[in-house]
């Protein structure tokens, strides 16, 4: 029996043995990893890296670090695009500005859209320009690729994508179950060079707590070679030790911890603040005209010296107070 083959290119090495050699060298010591976002991005995100970002859509995303990647004009990145919405939109801004090609290769599951909010005009221009190489996947199969890496394996099987052009443009393969003869999709492990994940709480060593859905982030933190955590709040190590069941990402996966209150803004942070739909609409609107968009970026992305200044531009604490009320449904009788 011959199986169809896929023609997409694999942008990262799935070898479990190669990954083991790397993970052997990763430090296991409890050391203070607190630093600024700009220092973390400078030290841990390199030109040519394979980058993956946590959260889902604009929910629990590390906005500050994504801004910083564009501000530091990182180039030639590969990217894991699993329901990447506002984060993808920001990264695409880097394909317009500065050295001009932040994104070079994208593993696509969901890009250029912002879910119910519509499509990003600029991200579409970038992706329709032919300058960014794509390989197709799905939300779950990208999650499975990260799970394979988190497990220390070179591949995992799955039962989707079969029979479609999504498969044909992927870098997956078709295999047969050695026990049942069932046809399966084989997915190559994805070991990102660097992952950035926003969480609710972390201690200075990188032990993290997340409330609400975890999406693919627990596997992502384990799969990536280097991990930057941005968190709403630093908490004492004592608090982590008080309830170890709540630790979802352990310190030994983490390389940098950055305290960024409201760090998922303008996205949603469960239990903290809802997404700023007006600001997200403004962003989409500004993208329509490229000249106008450059001015917008100068003001909102390149202008602010840090994330707090960006928050200030967007309405500051008063706006954040409103988003908090909205998140907690404070004005709906609750």
């Amino acid at each position: 029996m011959t199986f169809p083959t896929a023609t997409g290119r694999l942008f990262s090495d799935p070898s479990a043995n190669a990954a083991r050699q790397f993970f052997r060298t990763k430090p296991r010591t409890l050391r203070d990893k607190v630093m600024s976002v700009s220092d973390a991005v400078r030290a841990l995100v390199h030109d040519g890296d394979y980058l993956a970002i946590g959260g889902f859509g604009a929910d629990r995303i590390p906005t500050a670090a994504v801004h910083e990647i564009v501000r530091q004009r990182k180039q030639n990145l590969s990217f894991a695009g699993h329901t990447a919405t506002h984060d993808f939109q920001i990264l695409c801004a880097g394909n317009l500005t500065g050295r001009g090609q932040t994104l070079a290769r994208v593993d696509v599951a969901y890009i250029v859209g912002l879910e119910a909010r519509g499509l990003s005009p600029h991200a579409r221009r970038v992706m329709e320009s032919g300058t960014v190489e794509c390989t197709e996947w799905t939300n779950y199969t990208l999650a499975v690729r990260l799970k394979a890496a988190a497990m220390g394996l070179p591949f995992l099987p799955c039962r989707s994508m079969l029979g479609t052009d999504t498969f044909r443009r992927s870098a997956a393969k078709v295999i047969t179950c050695p026990f049942t003869g069932e046809t399966l999709l084989a997915l190559p492990a994805l070991y990102p060079d660097v992952a950035i994940i926003h969480v609710h709480e972390a201690d200075r060593f990188g032990n993290c707590r997340i409330r609400g859905t975890t999406v693919a982030d627990l596997d992502l933190a384990r799969a990536a070679k280097r991990v930057i955590i941005t968190c709403e709040r630093l908490i004492p190590n004592d608090e982590i030790r008080r309830e170890p069941s709540l630790t979802l990402i352990p310190f030994f996966c983490v390389d940098a911890v950055c305290e960024v209150p409201f760090g998922s803004y303008p996205g949603n942070m469960p239990g903290e603040y809802f997404s700023d739909e007006e600001h997200l609409q403004l962003w989409l609107k500004m993208e329509e005209d490229e000249q106008q968009y450059r001015q917008f970026l100068d003001r909102y992305l390149f202008g602010p010296k840090d994330f707090n200044e960006y928050l200030q531009l967007c309405g500051g604490l008063e706006r954040l107070r409103q988003l908090r009320a909205q998140e907690l449904l404070l004005h709906q009788g609750r």
Binding site: T83, V112, E136, T138, A143, T166, T213, D217, N268, P270
Partner: protein
């Protein structure tokens, strides 16, 4: 007779009626979510709702904007990972999934990836599969909700993002997809359609009140099959409309679009 409802309201109500009580559904934002919320408040109080980012059985205070926002697990029974939800689907525990797409063909294959002939330089780039391909591969019954027009209902989609019946009977199983699932209904602003048992091609089951065959044919880019007898889609009940307007979509985000 005065028009009691618009096309969007009819679509949501028709979709809601398809969901059997006591079964499970994975929904996205927009129409699918509204249909599931309406079903829960009318004919399917025990409908178990999942969101692919990890939300399980929320008490939805408002419609989510994102499949992963905090509404999707507001007072839910579990807030878990995407893999946990997708694996429940892969295990065979998900009865329904709601999908849409930029193009759909006669076998229910969906395109949400690109328009054009050159994959490397698409004429139009769409988001891609998201979780659609996974859900269409795993869930027992896929329901597609979409507007009915000739650009969308095409003989051949530019890109099969998400599997319908692929090239026809047996093609899903031959490709290795789990047996016994596939597209179940396609609901548009004109009609409710199913799939012919023998050919796995789209078959019109009922026309919405006031719609005729010619209208549907004019807005479809491929040869349609027709149920015989051809039913009329039941109009929304007053109760369903009231709940939809008062509780499900009070801000008319969806139903105001028509």
């Amino acid at each position: 007779m005065a028009v009691r409802y618009n096309a969007m309201e009819l679509m949501i109500c028709a979709a809601a009626r398809l969901l059997e009580d006591g079964r499970s559904v994975t929904v996205g934002t927009g129409v699918p979510c509204a249909a599931a919320m309406l079903a829960q408040r009318t004919t399917a109080p025990n409908l178990l709702i999942f969101f692919e980012a990890g939300g399980v059985a929320p008490l939805l205070p408002t419609m989510p904007i994102s499949v992963g926002d905090s509404r999707t697990f507001h007072r839910g029974l579990m807030a878990t990972s995407m893999a946990d939800v997708m694996e429940a689907c892969q295990r065979g525990m998900m009865d329904y999934a709601f999908l849409g797409g930029a193009q759909i063909d006669a076998y229910g294959n969906l395109n949400s990836t690109m328009i054009g002939q050159d994959y490397a330089k698409p004429k139009v780039r769409f988001p891609g599969s998201g979780g659609a391909n996974d859900l269409a591969s795993f869930c027992w019954r896929v329901i597609v909700v979409t507007n009915h027009d000739r650009r969308r209902f095409v003989e051949k989609v530019d890109f099969i993002t998400t599997p319908g019946y692929l090239t026809g009977p047996g093609a899903r199983e031959a490709a290795g997809l789990p047996a016994g699932c596939g597209p179940y209904r396609v609901i548009t602003d004109l009609a409710v359609m199913g799939f012919d048992e023998a050919t796995k091609r789209i078959k019109v089951l009922s026309l919405h009140p006031g719609v005729d065959r010619q209208q549907v044919e004019e807005r479809t880019g491929f040869q349609l099959l027709w149920a015989n007898p051809l039913d009329e889609t039941p109009p929304p009940t007053d109760e369903a409309l009231w709940i939809l307007r008062q509780e499900v979509d009070p801000h008319r985000y969806l139903i105001g679009r028509c």
